[in-house]
Protein backbone atom coordinates (compact mmCIF):
# COMPACT_ATOMS: atom_id res chain seq x y z
CA UNK A 1 0.00 0.00 0.00
CA UNK A 2 1.31 3.50 -0.78
CA UNK A 3 2.54 5.03 2.48
CA UNK A 4 0.40 8.15 2.23
CA UNK A 5 -2.74 6.09 1.71
CA UNK A 6 -1.78 3.80 4.58
CA UNK A 7 -1.34 6.72 6.98
CA UNK A 8 -4.64 8.18 5.89
CA UNK A 9 -6.31 4.88 6.89
CA UNK A 10 -4.39 4.83 10.18
CA UNK A 11 -5.80 8.31 10.89
CA UNK A 12 -9.31 6.87 10.41
CA UNK A 13 -8.60 3.88 12.65
CA UNK A 14 -6.60 5.50 15.48
CA UNK A 15 -7.73 9.13 15.16
CA UNK A 16 -9.67 8.90 18.41
CA UNK A 17 -6.41 8.33 20.28
CA UNK A 18 -5.07 11.70 19.09
CA UNK A 19 -6.17 15.08 20.44
CA UNK A 20 -8.86 16.96 18.49
CA UNK A 21 -6.25 19.33 17.04
CA UNK A 22 -3.81 16.56 16.08
CA UNK A 23 -6.60 14.58 14.47
CA UNK A 24 -7.81 17.61 12.48
CA UNK A 25 -4.32 18.40 11.17
CA UNK A 26 -3.57 14.78 10.25
CA UNK A 27 -6.91 14.48 8.43
CA UNK A 28 -6.33 17.73 6.52
CA UNK A 29 -2.85 16.62 5.48
CA UNK A 30 -3.35 12.91 4.74
CA UNK A 31 -7.07 12.58 3.95
CA UNK A 32 -7.79 16.00 2.36
CA UNK A 33 -4.32 16.32 0.84
CA UNK A 34 -3.84 19.98 1.83
CA UNK A 35 -0.37 21.57 1.95
CA UNK A 36 1.38 22.63 5.18
CA UNK A 37 0.74 26.29 4.29
CA UNK A 38 -2.95 25.73 3.70
CA UNK A 39 -3.31 23.83 7.00
CA UNK A 40 -1.32 26.55 8.75
CA UNK A 41 -3.81 29.13 7.53
CA UNK A 42 -6.96 27.11 8.31
CA UNK A 43 -5.87 26.16 11.82
CA UNK A 44 -4.16 29.44 12.65
CA UNK A 45 -0.99 27.58 13.61
CA UNK A 46 2.58 28.14 12.42
CA UNK A 47 3.83 26.08 9.49
CA UNK A 48 6.65 24.73 11.69
CA UNK A 49 4.21 23.61 14.40
CA UNK A 50 2.07 21.83 11.77
CA UNK A 51 5.18 20.10 10.45
CA UNK A 52 6.14 18.93 13.96
CA UNK A 53 2.62 17.71 14.78
CA UNK A 54 2.43 15.71 11.53
CA UNK A 55 5.84 14.16 12.16
CA UNK A 56 5.03 13.25 15.78
CA UNK A 57 1.54 11.91 15.01
CA UNK A 58 2.80 9.90 12.04
CA UNK A 59 5.19 8.16 14.42
CA UNK A 60 2.39 7.66 16.98
CA UNK A 61 0.04 6.10 14.41
CA UNK A 62 2.72 3.69 13.18
CA UNK A 63 3.42 2.78 16.80
CA UNK A 64 -0.31 2.12 17.48
CA UNK A 65 -0.48 -0.13 14.43
CA UNK A 66 2.65 -2.01 15.55
CA UNK A 67 1.00 -2.59 18.94
CA UNK A 68 -2.66 -3.25 18.01
CA UNK A 69 -2.48 -4.30 14.31
CA UNK A 70 -6.00 -3.00 13.57
CA UNK A 71 -5.23 -2.13 9.94
CA UNK A 72 -3.79 -5.61 9.39
CA UNK A 73 -6.86 -7.05 11.11
CA UNK A 74 -9.30 -5.02 9.00
CA UNK A 75 -7.51 -6.13 5.82
CA UNK A 76 -7.74 -9.79 6.87
CA UNK A 77 -11.40 -9.32 7.80
CA UNK A 78 -12.30 -7.93 4.37
CA UNK A 79 -10.36 -10.77 2.74
CA UNK A 80 -12.32 -13.34 4.77
CA UNK A 81 -15.62 -11.60 3.93
CA UNK A 82 -14.80 -11.68 0.18
CA UNK A 83 -13.67 -15.32 0.24
CA UNK A 84 -16.82 -16.36 2.09
CA UNK A 85 -18.95 -14.49 -0.48
CA UNK A 86 -17.34 -16.47 -3.32
CA UNK A 87 -17.79 -19.82 -1.53
CA UNK A 88 -21.43 -19.05 -0.65
CA UNK A 89 -22.13 -18.22 -4.29
CA UNK A 90 -20.59 -21.53 -5.35
CA UNK A 91 -22.73 -23.28 -2.76
CA UNK A 92 -25.87 -21.57 -4.05
CA UNK A 93 -25.14 -22.64 -7.62
CA UNK A 94 -25.06 -26.28 -6.40
CA UNK A 95 -28.28 -26.04 -4.37
CA UNK A 96 -31.86 -26.56 -5.47
CA UNK A 97 -33.60 -26.75 -2.12
CA UNK A 98 -35.45 -23.65 -0.95
CA UNK A 99 -34.58 -24.39 2.68
CA UNK A 100 -30.88 -24.48 1.90
CA UNK A 101 -31.08 -21.31 -0.12
CA UNK A 102 -32.79 -19.54 2.75
CA UNK A 103 -30.00 -20.55 5.12
CA UNK A 104 -27.35 -19.40 2.62
CA UNK A 105 -29.16 -16.06 2.45
CA UNK A 106 -29.24 -15.81 6.25
CA UNK A 107 -25.49 -16.53 6.39
CA UNK A 108 -24.82 -13.84 3.78
CA UNK A 109 -26.94 -11.30 5.66
CA UNK A 110 -25.11 -11.98 8.92
CA UNK A 111 -21.74 -11.59 7.20
CA UNK A 112 -22.83 -8.39 5.44
CA UNK A 113 -24.19 -6.77 8.58
CA UNK A 114 -20.95 -7.34 10.51
CA UNK A 115 -18.61 -4.36 10.73
CA UNK A 116 -15.45 -5.75 9.11
CA UNK A 117 -13.65 -2.41 9.03
CA UNK A 118 -12.18 -1.96 12.52
Amino acid sequence: MEERVEISILVDIYGELLTEKQKEIMALYFNEDLSLSEISEITNTSRQAIHDIIKRCHKLLVEYERKLCLLKKATEGRKLRDELAVLLNELRSLTNSENSNNIILKIEEKIDSYLWEV
Copy 2:
Protein backbone atom coordinates in the same frame (compact mmCIF):
# COMPACT_ATOMS: atom_id res chain seq x y z
CA MET B 1 -19.86 -8.82 32.57
CA GLU B 2 -18.38 -8.51 36.08
CA GLU B 3 -16.20 -5.38 36.17
CA ARG B 4 -13.11 -7.19 37.38
CA VAL B 5 -13.35 -9.73 34.58
CA GLU B 6 -13.97 -6.98 32.05
CA ILE B 7 -10.85 -5.06 33.13
CA SER B 8 -8.79 -8.24 32.99
CA ILE B 9 -9.87 -8.63 29.33
CA LEU B 10 -9.12 -4.95 28.64
CA VAL B 11 -5.59 -5.56 30.00
CA ASP B 12 -5.21 -8.36 27.42
CA ILE B 13 -6.54 -6.19 24.58
CA TYR B 14 -4.88 -2.84 25.33
CA GLY B 15 -1.93 -3.98 27.46
CA GLU B 16 0.50 -3.09 24.67
CA LEU B 17 -0.50 0.57 25.03
CA LEU B 18 0.68 0.60 28.66
CA THR B 19 4.31 0.67 29.76
CA GLU B 20 5.92 -2.67 30.67
CA LYS B 21 5.65 -1.89 34.38
CA GLN B 22 2.02 -0.73 34.18
CA LYS B 23 1.10 -3.81 32.18
CA GLU B 24 2.83 -6.12 34.65
CA ILE B 25 1.08 -4.58 37.66
CA MET B 26 -2.36 -4.60 35.98
CA ALA B 27 -1.91 -8.25 34.94
CA LEU B 28 -0.84 -9.26 38.46
CA TYR B 29 -3.83 -7.47 40.00
CA PHE B 30 -6.62 -8.24 37.52
CA ASN B 31 -5.48 -11.44 35.78
CA GLU B 32 -3.50 -13.16 38.57
CA ASP B 33 -5.70 -11.76 41.35
CA LEU B 34 -2.81 -10.83 43.66
CA SER B 35 -3.25 -8.30 46.50
CA LEU B 36 -1.67 -4.84 46.52
CA SER B 37 0.81 -6.00 49.19
CA GLU B 38 1.84 -9.05 47.19
CA ILE B 39 2.35 -6.94 44.04
CA SER B 40 4.24 -4.36 46.08
CA GLU B 41 6.65 -7.07 47.22
CA ILE B 42 7.09 -8.72 43.80
CA THR B 43 7.69 -5.44 41.94
CA ASN B 44 9.67 -3.74 44.70
CA THR B 45 7.31 -0.74 44.56
CA SER B 46 5.41 0.95 47.39
CA ARG B 47 1.84 -0.14 48.04
CA GLN B 48 0.67 3.44 47.46
CA ALA B 49 2.40 3.61 44.06
CA ILE B 50 0.81 0.30 43.04
CA HIS B 51 -2.58 1.65 44.09
CA ASP B 52 -2.07 4.82 42.01
CA ILE B 53 -0.87 2.91 38.94
CA ILE B 54 -3.89 0.56 39.07
CA LYS B 55 -6.28 3.48 39.44
CA ARG B 56 -4.71 5.46 36.56
CA CYS B 57 -4.40 2.48 34.22
CA HIS B 58 -7.95 1.35 34.95
CA LYS B 59 -9.11 4.77 33.78
CA LEU B 60 -6.82 4.57 30.71
CA LEU B 61 -8.15 1.15 29.70
CA VAL B 62 -11.79 2.26 30.01
CA GLU B 63 -10.90 5.30 27.91
CA TYR B 64 -9.26 3.14 25.21
CA GLU B 65 -12.34 0.95 25.06
CA ARG B 66 -14.60 4.01 24.79
CA LYS B 67 -12.51 5.21 21.84
CA LEU B 68 -11.70 1.97 19.98
CA CYS B 69 -14.45 -0.46 21.19
CA LEU B 70 -12.22 -3.51 20.66
CA LEU B 71 -13.83 -5.53 23.46
CA LYS B 72 -17.29 -4.81 22.03
CA LYS B 73 -15.97 -5.74 18.58
CA ALA B 74 -14.43 -9.02 19.82
CA THR B 75 -17.71 -9.93 21.54
CA GLU B 76 -19.68 -9.27 18.34
CA GLY B 77 -17.11 -11.24 16.32
CA ARG B 78 -17.44 -14.31 18.55
CA LYS B 79 -21.25 -14.01 18.37
CA LEU B 80 -21.11 -13.92 14.55
CA ARG B 81 -18.72 -16.90 14.49
CA ASP B 82 -21.08 -18.94 16.73
CA GLU B 83 -24.19 -18.01 14.73
CA LEU B 84 -22.48 -18.93 11.47
CA ALA B 85 -21.44 -22.30 12.96
CA VAL B 86 -25.08 -23.09 13.82
CA LEU B 87 -26.34 -22.07 10.36
CA LEU B 88 -23.62 -24.06 8.59
CA ASN B 89 -24.55 -27.14 10.61
CA GLU B 90 -28.19 -26.71 9.62
CA LEU B 91 -27.09 -26.37 6.01
CA ARG B 92 -25.01 -29.55 6.24
CA SER B 93 -27.95 -31.52 7.63
CA LEU B 94 -29.97 -30.53 4.52
CA THR B 95 -27.22 -31.39 2.04
CA ASN B 96 -26.46 -34.73 0.40
CA SER B 97 -24.06 -33.60 -2.31
CA GLU B 98 -20.37 -34.18 -1.66
CA ASN B 99 -19.44 -31.00 -3.54
CA SER B 100 -21.68 -28.90 -1.34
CA ASN B 101 -20.36 -30.54 1.81
CA ASN B 102 -16.81 -29.79 0.73
CA ILE B 103 -17.65 -26.12 0.28
CA ILE B 104 -19.36 -26.00 3.68
CA LEU B 105 -16.22 -27.50 5.18
CA LYS B 106 -14.05 -24.90 3.44
CA ILE B 107 -16.27 -22.11 4.76
CA GLU B 108 -16.01 -23.52 8.29
CA GLU B 109 -12.24 -23.79 8.04
CA LYS B 110 -11.91 -20.18 6.87
CA ILE B 111 -14.12 -18.98 9.72
CA ASP B 112 -12.22 -21.07 12.28
CA SER B 113 -8.80 -19.90 11.15
CA TYR B 114 -9.76 -16.21 11.45
CA LEU B 115 -8.62 -14.47 14.63
CA TRP B 116 -11.96 -13.30 16.09
CA GLU B 117 -10.46 -12.17 19.38
CA VAL B 118 -9.08 -8.71 18.72
